[in-house]
Amino acid sequence: MNFNDLKKTGEVEWVIPSSYRTGMKGDVYIIASHEIIQHSLADLSLEQAVNATFLPGLVGNVVVMPDVHQGYGFPIGGIAATDTAGGAISPGAIGYDINCGVRLMASHVTLQDASVVLADLLQCIYTAIPSGLGKGGLPRLSMKNLDAILTQGSGWALQNGYADQVDLNCTEDNGCMKQADPTYVSIRAKERGLEQVGSLGAGNHFIEISVVDKIFSLKAAEVMGLEEGCLCIMIHSGSRGLGHQVCADYVQQLQNVQSKYGYTMPDRELACAPLHSKEGQAYLSAMNCAANYAFCNRQVMAYRVQIAFEEVLKRRRKNPTLAMVYDLAHNIGKIEKHSVENVAREVCVHRKGATRAFPVGSSLVPEQYHSIGHPVLIPGSMGTASWVLVGRDNAMQISFGSACHGAGRVHSRKSARKLMRSEQLINELKMQGIEVMAGSLSGLAEETPQAYKDVDEVVGCVSKAGLVDKVARLRPVAVIKG
């Protein structure tokens, strides 16, 4: 694919028409600046988006966000909706880290008040939350308890003292996906999940202490409890080994059944089955279980982070609290109702590296955010800003109520290692006032901010496209990398 295959339709809008390749069931609609488009043409991300248009029962267009980068079948930063009546569901279009997502908590403690204990806070969180490879923060669960987590998600955390009702109210789908039957999760996946609840994991997962650097919407910031100059904590993690195994199990199983349904996908990683087939329903149920595991995992970590925050900060201030802002999924499949060309359709929205961005008035916006829209949390890349946004009307017209999920990579891990050594990166971040602790030094260099796109430009694109409004920008001051 080259630049001439793209049609520019707006300031930050581009289209790959369905005439690009025979068999495409819709266009690819891209939100990107000119520079970001150039990055996207340098790898296979847009070809992967074209492949995604072959999903049976595709409704509308495949939509690509400006944080798009090459994945393994379906691009990261992509959205595809399929009709629930006759359309397909594809595990690979949701990803291996099912319900990888972000949680944000906010305080009214200023950085100035906290600065002398910041190193203690970082150490305390690092000790409380297992990171990197291996086991989690809770003792090995019984199979009965694991099944309860798979069915109830954050509800299990509430029942067991790791959450309060506000946490659940401020979690996407209240932290519990329905139609989650643990009998569709393999013993192997469960075995991997028994010892990892309450753990961060490795790779690009992190816990970040940041300060509210700039507020763009006073009203929305007030509703969310964000105050300029005050500390926030963001957790980025997912469903750990259990989710990886669920996806791997079903990608493998669906290789064997596609022909039965007459499906031939351009990439085997997009293997799929009709949503209403027994295989499709089995995967949907297992995926929901893994999503519930991830909600519970982030909830248990958040509970421990809140305790650490209060323990350390009470030395500086009376009754310091870290309040829940929101917890969301950015690798997930959701059954939702959308208006497509003025016709109400029930669709399965595959969001792989994409975030719900419903506007004011949507019934799926949590009650406390009805007046501002669905929160969209955009983690940055250690040395760069993270963003808090809210969904707008255009997201419903363009992207099935979705926006971007991060900065998006531009450099491979191999070339990132050449750009920067881990020790050098730690020193450079320290000079910028950012402390870093890492579960794995070798993986740290691969996550250097230089390996990512400019997150401010990415957010600028989705804002210009009218998918979101900016609420606040967060500046990192300390990071724990998995």
Binding site: Q70, G132, H244
Partner: protein, 133 residues
């Protein structure tokens, strides 16, 4: 000397290109490549032999199945070297020498089918393998 595998640039994940004179050797080199990108170090003091038996609908499902099985066992702390495997009629069987995992520096989430196509050319097999990390 011909390489058994090389790392290939991939924006978000990790990709290797693997070579072998026949399918069993290709599979063994793929396993070595997976361990290499995961940064596996082993303790070989108490090595034992483990059986493996798998089926696939084609060569690629067999390779993904083999690597996924070894990945799962890696997560249980088991590492294999010197695999003695045979592949006939899309059925794999053999013995793996099991060692204990000493260190691991990278978490591999999954072995994917993306870009995987086992090709035989000039008497040598090769394929790309993308790991989700």
């Amino acid at each position: 000397m011909k390489k058994n595998f090389v790392e290939i640039d991939h924006t978000a994940d990790l990709c290797i290109k693997v070579y072998g004179k026949d399918l069993p050797e290709l599979f063994c080199h793929a396993l070595k490549g997976m361990y290499a990108v995961a940064g596996v170090q082993t303790e070989s003091a108490n090595a034992t032999l483990q059986k493996i038996k798998l089926e696939g609908i084609d060569k690629e499902t067999l390779l993904v199945g083999f690597l996924s099985e070894c990945l799962f066992r890696l997560q249980q702390g088991e590492v294999y070297d010197n695999p003695q495997i045979t592949i006939r009629n899309l059925k794999l069987s053999g013995l793996l020498r099991q060692n204990s995992l000493e260190t691991l520096t990278r978490e591999i989430k999954a072995v994917t089918y993306h870009q995987m196509k086992i090709v035989e050319k000039d008497g040598r097999y090769f394929t790309y393998i993308v790991f989700d990390i």
